[in-house]
């Protein structure tokens, strides 16, 4: 039985490929993950230049309500900016921001098949020998993101560029606002952390960097040799302090119960790899501020997922699971980072 989106998607792609004929979409199926976008894989076939072609592609479509409300234009631009660089990303093909074609905005990218993303598989035992290689690649690539020049990448035209001493305030204001609008019950631990963050601001950022915004184990594709083939999920990408990205991975919930950052390496080792690749330094005081901030940001995301379910905008189980699984764990992570657990 074919998926009802297939003929509509085929019509859209045909309109983007005027030289092609017999454009057809088959085998469209939704794949797991993607709480902020609906993610599907499909097969595109067409004729062009007298030959038949076949491509495996990915469709990322906005849901009615999302775990994270973001601009897909920004996400698309971030992918495009890094394609072909030392930061591996899938190739983006088309961005559609109107609702007519598929009811919600979406973009289409090439599928990178044959790789894994799930942390559960990475830590199940079969990859133990290559975990040091994954760690080396993970923080080296993050260092490359930090080192990149946002202006040279063309990203200052689609992302706001805050002053170096305003990066922290812009992010904290944004995420505190999420609590103000989305929390379904009082959050005394997160609110106390926000007060501490405001009272103890970090030093100005050492440079303005691209910040991926969700760079953690689980958001990249890896293989059996420990190589990383693509960094995914750029929906929270913005410009800011590069330490924000390094510290997001130090949120204790991303240790996956292994006692290692990202489940992969001791913090000192991760920092050393990142410093080598980025040419930047990780000031411990600033890094602590950003780690606590990221615990608050994480809680903001889980609070937002609960709100999307409660308001009826998105009733899928993926919106409930982070809230049930992580709201209290994130509170404990905040206590831990504040030295109160």
């Amino acid at each position: 039985m074919s998926h009802p989106l297939e003929p509509r998607l085929a019509r859209y792609i045909a309109s983007q490929m005027p030289e092609a004929s017999d454009v057809d979409v088959t085998a469209l199926e939704r794949i797991s993950g993607g709480a902020s976008r609906e993610t599907y894989r499909f097969r595109l076939t067409y004729r062009e230049g007298g030959r038949a072609h076949e491509r495996k592609l990915i469709l990322r479509r906005d849901p009615p309500a999302s775990l994270i409300d973001t601009e897909r234009r920004v996400e698309f631009a971030a992918y495009r900016a890094f394609h072909g660089s030392a930061v591996p990303v899938p190739r983006m093909l088309w961005l559609e921001e109107a609702d007519e074609a598929l009811d919600h905005p979406f973009f289409i990218a090439e599928e990178l098949s044959g790789f894994q993303a799930a942390p559960q598989m990475l830590f199940a035992g079969g990859y133990d020998a290559v975990l040091p290689r994954v760690a080396e690649r993970k923080w080296t690539i993050l260092g490359e993101i930090a080192r990149a020049d946002p202006q040279a990448l063309g990203l200052t035209s689609v992302m706001q560029a805050p002053a170096l001493d305003a990066c922290w305030r812009r992010e904290l204001d944004h995420w505190e606002q999420i609590f103000d609008t989305d929390e379904a019950e009082p959050q005394p631990i997160a609110r106390a952390a926000i007060r501490w963050l405001r009272a103890n601001p970090p030093p100005p950022s050492q440079k303005l960097s691209v910040v991926h915004g969700d760079y953690r184990t689980g958001n990249f594709l890896y293989d059996e040799q420990g190589e990383i083939h693509a960094v995914l999920d750029w929906e929270m990408a913005h410009l800011g302090d590069p330490l924000e990205d390094l510290a997001w991975g130090f949120n204790p919930i991303w240790q996956f119960g292994r006692g290692l950052e990202g489940g992969l390496a001791p913090r000192e080792e991760a920092i050393a790899i990142w410093q080598r690749a980025s040419g930047l330094t990780a000031d411990p005081v600033a890094l602590h501020w950003w780690t606590l901030f990221n615990c608050v940001k994480g809680q903001g995301i889980w609070v937002g997922s609960a709100r999307a379910f409660i308001d009826g905008g998105n009733k899928e189980p993926i919106m409930v699971y982070p809230a049930w699984w992580l709201l209290n764990a994130q509170d404990r992570a905040i206590l831990k980072v504040m030295g109160r657990l």
Binding site: R30, I31, A184, P188, G257, P317, W324, L327, A329
Partner: protein
């Protein structure tokens, strides 16, 4: 638990019914059922102790805040509403203690906040 367990179970009932029908793509059915099973497991874990934990926490908060915990209605929804009222008061009290430099009061609040995360902790908690 937020969203509330009854609201989630109600939604899962509809989801399971939809996935029992023919024609649902295999990958979508597998994803829906896999996540549903994890949510049901969490609901099962918290079910028996939910009222006990809320009553215990509301009493602890009321004592700390010199308030009176309302316990006339022992439905989980009523206990949750009372818990939200007391935790909102706790935030105000915490701010006052910080502004006054009352470290003893702050430590008492932090101790209760720490205890609250133990009451709410799941067996699958990553922290």
């Amino acid at each position: 638990m937020t969203p509330s367990v009854p609201s989630v179970l109600s939604e899962l009932a509809g989801l399971l019914m939809r996935n029992a029908a023919p024609g649902v793509p295999d990958a979508e059915r597998a994803s829906a059922l896999g996540l549903s099973s994890m949510l049901l497991a969490v609901a099962a874990e918290v079910w028996d102790g939910a009222a006990q934990n809320l009553v215990q926490e509301n009493r602890a908060l009321a004592t700390l805040l010199r308030d009176t915990a309302a316990e006339a209605d022992l439905r989980l929804s009523a206990l949750r509403n009372e818990n939200a009222r007391l935790r909102a008061r706790l935030i105000e009290d915490h701010i006052l203690a910080e502004e006054a430099g009352d470290t003893e009061r702050q430590e008492a609040i932090w101790a209760e906040l720490r205890a609250s995360t133990v009451r709410r902790m799941l067996s699958i908690s990553p922290v």
